[in-house]
Symmetry: C2
Subunit: 195 residues, 2 copies
DNA sequence: CGAATTATATAGTGATCAGTACGGAACACA
DNA sequence: TGTGTTCCGTACTGATCACTATATAATTCG
């Protein structure tokens, strides 16, 4: 057993609460006061357990990406490149309109534009976004090696395209797009995919 | 001539400076201190000339949209729906990577996620974003009436798709995508367009 | 039971936030 | 030259920002 007074709150539960606030409002628009209220703890507990606002955000981001990368892996595991993209985008439409979560992708709304002081956070979020593109490119490279995609398809361009659709869907849903709207978009987007 | 001491700064020049800061950092991440510094004026002059931070942002947004809607109209004036989309997206790629401007679309980065106090601003930006989709839908409806697009294409879905690409490109460029990257995306995206 | 350790709540820190009170300066007009 | 009007810069407002000093409560170990 650890010595000293035991922590009176569940660290993971509190992190999830913080995640939700950051997810909904973004990094800079979220104050410590809002965080502590949502987490049900006082500032000293927050700082003792998570470091500071930036460190807390990064830990929340880790948690967010953790769940997201599971979905990406599941999608990429589909037998064909097209099926992988189809699953990724359709599941994305579901997730972005999940009534129990903020209607957005935290990798898009978390810190897209920001003041100079938050540039490192913004870059961190951007590099997490880039992971999707990388996963797609690798999947497409594999597909080309397997003959699933023809040799004259460029995996990098195609990956950028699919990532653009995914991130664009995040913007659409922030503007009030419904699940059906997103699924319509996916339908059209898939037409660009090499047969 | 107006009575009283004349204004010592150019209102439009100052507004352009404010626009640039809002464009780069977004509404909430921008402070009055940063604005007054960029505009070369003191807070009382800002408040006398523009009202308050929110009113200034809305006026900057108007100015931004003004320029943008010219480009949209030019694109929509192309002889075919496909040519319209092609021009819109290719010009968009140029604009998003213009070295003399922030590398982003203000309608995406201006206020995507925000705190509760800024919700009205966020909604205003979203409604400006929706204008692109509307312009596209109307252009596609015309194209269908002219026989340029077949009757079984849904103008609304196609418009949502193109808007999603455009907004997705904004996110890509925020993550460091180059002009060539964006043009590659446009190339792929156009394949989804009905022949 | 102390002593050591760690978490807690209260109540602050200086800095910055958006916005303004105020007195003087620059103009048009009488 | 005087008067009214508008803008200017300085210096400030209370509120909120991220963060913390301090004292106390709760635990383990000797």
């Amino acid at each position: 057993m650890a010595v000293g007074r035991p922590r009176a709150f569940d660290r993971e539960e509190a992190l999830d609460k913080a995640l939700e606030v950051f997810w909904r409002q973004g990094y800079e628009a979220t104050s410590i006061a809002e965080l502590t209220k949502a987490m049900g703890i006082n500032p000293p507990s927050l700082y003792a357990a998570f470091g500071n606002k930036e460190a807390l955000f990064r830990q929340a981001l880790d948690r967010y990406v953790e769940k997201g990368s599971v979905r990406i892996r599941e999608a990429m595991a589909q037998p064909t490149a097209r099926a992988a993209v189809e699953k990724l985008l359709r599941d994305g439409a579901d997730r972005l309109t999940d009534p129990t979560c903020p209607h957005s992708c935290m990798l898009v709304t978390g810190a897209l534009a920001c003041s100079e002081e938050a540039e490192e956070v913004r870059d961190e979020v951007a590099s997490r976004r880039a992971m999707l593109e990388t996963a797609l490119r690798e999947r497409f490279e594999r597909a080309r090696a397997e003959g699933d995609l023809s040799d004259n398809t460029d995996p990098a361009s195609l990956a950028r395209y699919v990532a653009t659709i995914a991130h664009g869907m995040s913007v659409q849903v922030a503007g009030g797009a419904t699940r059906k709207d997103l699924l319509d978009i996916v339908e059209v987007a898939l037409k660009a995919f090499p047969a």
